[in-house]
Amino acid sequence: MRPWFIHLIKLLFPPQVLLPDIVGIDIGLTLSALAIALYLTKARRWGWLWREWLTTVDHKRIGIMYIIAALIMLFRGGVDALMIRSQLIVPEAHFMGAQQYDEVFTTHGTVMIFFMAMPFFFGLFNVAVPLMIGARDVAFPRLNAISFWLFAFGAALFNISFSIGGSPSAGWFSYPPYSELQFNPGVGENYYLLALQVSGIGSIATGINFLVTILKLRAPGMTLMKMPLFVWSALVTSTLILFAFPPLTVALGLTMLDRLFGASFFTLAHEGMPMMYANLFWIFGHPEVYILIMPAFGIFSEVVPTFSRKPLFGYEAMVISLLAITFLSYGVWVHHFFEMGAGPGVNVFFGLSTMLIAIPTGVKMFNWLFTMWGGRIRLSVPMLWQLGFIPTFVVGGASGVMLAAVAADYQYHNSYFVIAHFHNVIVGGTVFGLLSGMYYWWPKMFGWKLNERQGRWAFAFFFTGFWLTFMPQYFLGLEGMTRRMASYPPGLGWGGLNAMSTIGAFIMGVGFAILVYNIAWSRMHPEWDTTGDPWDGRTLEWSLPSPAPAYNFARIPEVHERDAWWAMKQRGETDAVKLSPDQVEPIHVPKNTPMPICLAVSFFVGSIGMVFAWHWMAILGGLGVVAALAYGSLEDDTDRELDPTTVLNTEKRLGRVHP
């Protein structure tokens, strides 16, 4: 055999990817990919897939694709979590080696933050925001598709690392000097850098897109203070993304220069400064956790009024709290590295600013409780997740204030106390919120509801498992167990708590399995939503049929107050959303285009070239990116017109035309 070939094989398949379990997963994944390809060929579905989904620019379909991808990533991150917990169930376990353990927790964190939580709420934004503000699409539909495909191929790039070339192992925030070439010579870190960079471009574009959509495309009469709170949360989240992601881009870019081109921004040698990476990363990283939680706040602010049959208590206070959290979240990042020793002045400033955030968050908590107070509460599945969220998030928030006390943080830092804290807020806040939103808007996406009984069981298992998993971890942290330990010796009193935590994690796993079963079962036995308003909702998306037609609103509604649809129902004016045959106008809709997916594929090819330092391939990918952008810029024929007859016929079929 030729030496270059042997070299290539060694590069692509180092020993760490040849473990029996990984090879088993590789074979399983290849077989399922083949099965799917075979099914698509046999059922002649390739053309349908390309026309209806891969080239679509419809925000509702893009939203659905985001959510499906996010659920797959939730599965992957969840399996990683179960592997971590299996390793820690007893002292000195050998379920995995230390290297593989490092790779698994790195993947768990990165996947859950960047490829599960973010696309999940991007999906819900896409599904709900344009419908809530009475728009026909987002401001830049094609850019929206570009965002999705960049995310999808970024996620794919990150996910192939474990079977080709080796996974990153420096944790989800990937601190140098450990992430530098000197200590981490494989290609795993390169995968991390490139995957986050590619999907980060998509995230920034999504932020811009929703900012413009919300500021510019609201229905007539919908002033900022009449917007639903979920739209407000999308607005502040987009602002946060716009200002928080560039520092991440810089931090990842400089690390890439260090690793691939011999620079020394963060190395130990040549006067590099590793802590500057920590500074840059957390300028992004702290706003990022608010990027994750704000959409959940928004979802709960829709779910609580709907299922309590009351308007939201203290709307203005809710908006002001959102803005206050947005503002404060930019001034707290040093609390992630108090131990660097920047001095008492710096640490006290950032400790105090961190504690301040508890005030607007507390205001929101009380407002949700006061909304429920005296309301007629229905315990549907979205509401259950909300009720589970309140105690969970309060515990997480309170432990966060404990961590903000600088002197005490020197004890908590890097221990399981921190792990328990941030899972309490990210799972108990973000994930509960996203699942609540998924159940809430599911009928709007697909036209059928998810089964309630199975949904309650999924919630019960997930919620119980959650508390059993993470409460013991506070005590483990106080007992001195540090995070990222691949195993621990017996005799420290950690065994029982760790075993409890592992059992809890598997109960959460059962909860997730029930959720997947719930989706599959409800797909097979659909409970159709014929009214378009299954929850007796309050906002404009419920005035449309489920699922909404491609152009959303045949007639753009006029808004006079908050909870516009509820007000229309109260006044018995629901016929106002129907169309008169003489009112029909042609509607402009954007055309499908293959450009976004081609752009993302080019980024993918170029990134593989960068990961393995094959410069010819990186240049090839770069040329592909330029070609796709040029094609997109020079193409003139980007939208088409739906003629009035088509619109009228569609609306007639939906029963929405005045006789």
Binding site: F140, G331, V346, H588
Partner: protein, 122 residues
């Protein structure tokens, strides 16, 4: 990514101007201003890189010069590429640019304050 300006899909008969984000690029003349701005950005970055890589100045001078170069660079970006000087749609221009300046200056200022610890310990 420049999206083409198309008929606004939402409000029939009433087109919404978003000059900041969907600029008119159909002007036929050669984009000399943009190319000059691009080259100037490259030169400014090159100067900053050279000064740091060669240790050409003492630390306090270096910091001052790099900050001045950064401000010049930001002005070029805003003026040439971000269409700051185009008049319409200023309702959202000013608050968002103000926020951008506030966050940008805050990040730089705070980072200098935070990372000064190194001069004390190392």
């Amino acid at each position: 990514m420049q999206e083409k300006k198309h008929e606004d899909p939402t409000l029939p008969g009433e087109s919404v101007e978003i000059p900041l984000l969907a600029p008119h690029l159909s002007t036929p003349h050669f984009p000399a201003r943009q190319i000059a701005g691009y080259v100037a950005s490259l030169i400014l970055t090159g100067i900053a890189f050279f000064l740091v890589a060669r240790h050409a100045l003492p630390l306090s001078w270096l910091l001052a010069v790099v900050l001045i170069l950064a401000f010049l660079q930001a002005a070029i970006q805003l003026g040439v590429f971000m269409h700051l000087r185009e008049g319409r749609g200023t309702t959202w221009h000013l608050p968002i640019i103000g926020l951008g300046l506030f966050v940008g200056l805050g990040i730089v200022g705070f980072s200098i304050w935070i990372m000064l610890f190194k001069s004390g310990v190392s």
